[in-house]
Every structure is written in structure tokens, then in C-alpha cells.
Amino acid sequence: MQAILSELPWGLFLILIPLIGGIACFLLPVVARRLGLLTASLVLSAAVGLGWQLSSRGVYHHAVGGWGAPLGIDLYADGLSLLMLVMTALVGFGVSLYATGYFKPGHLVRFWPLWLLLLGALNALFLSADLFNLYVTLELVGLSAVALTALQGGRDALTGAMRYLLATLLGSLAYLLGVALLYHGFGTVDLVLLSERVVPSPVVWAALGLMSAGLILKTALFPLHFWLPPAHASAPAPVSAVLSALVVKASFYILLRLWLAIFSDISGDVAGLFGLLGAGAVLWGSLQALRQTRVKLLVAYSTVAQIGYLFLVYPLAPGMGITAWSAMAYLLISHALAKAAMFMAAGNLMQFGGHDRIADLDRVVQRLPLTAGAFALAGVSIMGLPPSGGFNGKWLLLQAALAQGRWDLVGVIFLGGVLAAGYVFKVLGNTFTQAPRTHEPISVPARMQWAAVLLAAGAILIGFLSSPLMALLEVGDPFNINGKGP
């Protein structure tokens, strides 16, 4: 039995199951809800299966069509891919559960196919080792994310989705032009082969610039974050959770892979620039979050800030390899869980009071304790307080910065934490008191509250799972700690 289980192509299941599930939900809207939840659970178990496979047999490799790179397309999963896939599966399950309570039946029927296709596209992206295939998955992710943003309509959501669509298409095209240059320079779009063949040249420089700029735009790194707050704040709550937790991470992941495989040897200055932009994002995003008067906008600006932390890793990595990359891994997964929980909590508040104005939150702690608790737990991780995944991430980052004497980055990390505490307590502080305008509570389904609690608890819990997480992350040596080459 065990032998069969470890033989199964879990990686493929992660792609095929949501695609099939999405099509099935489109064909059978009557049972879409059950099919959707089933699909999300199957994806979660496939992610666990892949994790088990990776820990026992090392990296996962699948040559689609049996051709192998460079002619065919290779799927590849190491510890880093696994981290992203598990993160996606966890958040995906929570969001699926949440959505069944959040959407009215008419919208829920439309939600499932789009969301499951997005889930499949994210998995396909995290498993791909082929730059053009990554472009196709990026477009799948982008278009489904935009369609989900506009799902419930409304003026803000529609204009937010439109701006988002234009930004994401622009980013993809810049990326694709970079792929075109790399293909014609080195005769392949396979990441592994490229990492062997690439030599510093004008083509690589142009590709580096185009792809980085395109992916940074899609990741919403300051100052190219202009599209994120309107889209993430106006989307339906479960969609906001997916956008902030997973979708921006997809383009970040590609940038990281490109960096590790191709660009890190070629340019040191760019890492400094990434660090600078990251620092700008942390400070600007946190300050803007502090200024917001609506919960969802506040949480959206917090995403801008938290993306910044991910980029602080680049300038620290050359000297502090594993510490810095572990910090990034922690920041990635803990932000995904905590931010998804925060958006879900914000959605609960909106459903409960019919608005998300911070000043008018009315006795939430007494009347919606689970939601307030979820927001607080997620806040602990976002602020970087122990014990939480966010704490581990920021602590490791701080260690890396201190060891290299980067006092400027130490200051940014510290200040970002203080500002995060400011905006989290700005919301929490208003949950205890009676608002000037009281309102009758509108009941919020229990599963919407529990889904938020579940993910927030996950963000805390991974703070305790440091050794297994780090062991899995080392499968396949994604960060080239033991020498070059995957």
C-alpha cells in the first residue's frame, strides 16, 4: 500500500484535480458546492502526499509527454515548490470552506469554476520549470483572479478589477518579452538548462530587467503597488484572501526561481535595489495602512508592507544564505495564512455590520468573539510577535541583517513591526467598544468564523514547527546552499 502511495504522481494530481473539479462545477452547478469542497480537500491531501513523497524520495520530476527538456516541458518540485503548494492547499481549503458561507447561491455557482481553475493554475505554476509554461500559468492565474475580483460587481470592484487586469497583462507581456530574449539567446526555456547556459550578456541584462519589472509589477512591490489596494480591498472577502495570500506570491515565486537559477550570479546591484524597494514598501505600506479608515483597505495596504519584507531578503542572501532564505520561507507561508485569516475576518465584520469602517465597529469582541480572535491571532503573526510564524521569519531576517551589520535594514524591520502593531491595534481597539451608531448584529455563519480561526491558528502554529519545515525546505537544495545547481 505504501509503495503504491509513494509511486502516485501527486504533483500531477495537484494540477489535474482542480482542473477537473472546475469543469465539473461548471457542468453541474447544482452540486457545485459539494464538488468544490471535495476538490479542495483532495488538493490538500495531494499536497500532503507530495510532501511525504518528497521527504522520502527527494525531488519530484515529471517530463510531460515523455520528451524531457528542452523539447518538452518538465514539471519539478523541490522543497521550495512544496512550501508554496502546501501554502496554497491550506489557504485554498480555508477559502473554499469560507466561501460556502459567504456567497449567495447565485454568486457561489459562478465562484467555484473560477476559483478551482485558479487553484489548479497556481499549483501548475509552482510545479513548472519551463519559462513559457510559466507564462501560460501566469495568465491563467491573472485572468481568473481578475474575474473573481469582479464577481460580485459594484463600482469599486469593477474599476479595481479593470486596473488590476491592465497591470497584470502589462506585467505578463514584459515577462514574455524577457522569455523571448532568453530563448533566442540560449535556445531553451527550461530553467535548469538555462541556469547552465546563461552567460552575462546584453540579452541577459535586458531579460533580467524586463522579467523583474514585469513580475515586480504583478507582485505589487512598492512603487508598483498602485493597483493592489483598490483590487484587494473591493474584491469579495474570500477572493481578497486568495489574492493577498497566494496570487501575489505566484509572481514573486517566479522571480525568486529566476533569481536563484539565472540572475543571482549576474548582478549584485539588483539585489541592493530590491532591498531598497522592499524597505520602501515596508515603510510606505505600513504608514498607509495606519491611515486607512476601512478594515479591508487597511489589510490591503498591510499586504503592500509585508511584500516588502520578502524583498529585504535579497541583499542579505549572499552572505547569510540559509538564514535569509529560511526567513523568506517563513515570511511567505505565515503571511499567506495570517493575511487570508485577516481578510476573512474583515469579511465577517462586513457581513456582521454591513460596513467595514473601523470607527464604527460595534462591540465585535462580545458579539463575534471568534472573528475578533482570528483577527488578533493573525495580527500577532503580522506584527512578528512570538510565538508565530511571522515572528520566526522576522527574527531570522533580523539575525541576517545584524550579522552583516546592515543597521539600516534592522531599523526598517523594527519600524515595520511597530507600525504593524499600530494598525492591528487600531482595528482591535475599536472592537471592544460600542460604536456611536449601534446596529443589530447580522448573523455570520459559524464556518466563516472557524475558517478564519483555523488559518490564523495555522500562522501561529508554524512558529512551533521550525525543524520539520526547514527539513522539507532543504529537499532538492532550492537555495543552492550546497553549491550551484538544482
Binding site: F132, V136, E139, L143, V146, A147, A150, G153, G154, R155, L158, T159, A161, M162, R163, L165, L166, L169, L170, L173, L176, L177, A180, L181, Y183, H184, F226, P229, P230, Q288
Partner: protein, 102 residues
């Protein structure tokens, strides 16, 4: 300059021209046209450079990639046009509201 490089440079020109249009024009339809022109520029670079080296038949892989790209482009365009019409229905104008407070 050989013909493939000529077309590749035209492709770069279209990319930049489209980029310019995307930034400066307000009407969403024009922004959508601009994105399409940028895309055509990228496709031109992909296909033109595949023909470098003269007489032999060109590399078919970029051709297949561009056919994929054209289908992706028409999909994105259709969604963008639909969204544009909904924006016009919701706001009365097919333009994005002014600078987001930021």
C-alpha cells in the same frame, strides 16, 4: 541588417509604442488596443528571431508559442472588453477613475 533583425526591431518598437499608449491614453478601449499592440510586438520578436540564419526553415517552437500567445491575447481582450462595458455601465464612463488615493 538582415530581415529577421529588422522585424525584431519593429517588434521592440511596437512594444514600446504600445507601452506609451497604455500609459498616456485614458479611454479603456485604447488601453486595450495598446496592450494588444504590445503583445504583437513581443510575438514579432519571438517569431522574427527564429528565422535568423537564412535559408533553412525557421524554428517551429516559437511559432507554436506565438499561436498559444494569440489565443491567450484574444481571451484577455475579450475579458477586458467585457469588464470595460461593465465599468461604463457602473460609472457612466469607459475610463478608470482618477488617481487612486495613494
Amino acid at each position: 541588417m538582415s530581415v529577421p533583425f529588422l522585424y525584431a526591431l519593429v517588434g521592440i518598437g511596437l512594444f514600446c509604442l504600445g507601452f506609451h499608449g497604455l500609459i498616456v491614453y485614458d479611454h479603456l478601449l485604447r488601453k486595450i488596443l495598446a496592450i494588444n499592440i504590445m503583445g504583437s510586438g513581443v510575438f514579432l520578436v519571438l517569431v522574427a528571431l527564429a528565422k535568423r540564419g537564412g535559408e533553412a526553415a525557421p524554428d517551429p517552437v516559437p511559432h507554436a508559442m506565438v499561436i498559444t500567445g494569440i489565443v491567450v491575447a484574444v481571451s484577455a481582450t475579450a475579458l477586458a472588453l467585457g469588464l470595460m462595458l461593465k465599468v461604463q455601465a457602473a460609472t457612466g464612463h469607459a475610463v478608470l477613475p482618477g488617481k487612486s488615493r495613494d
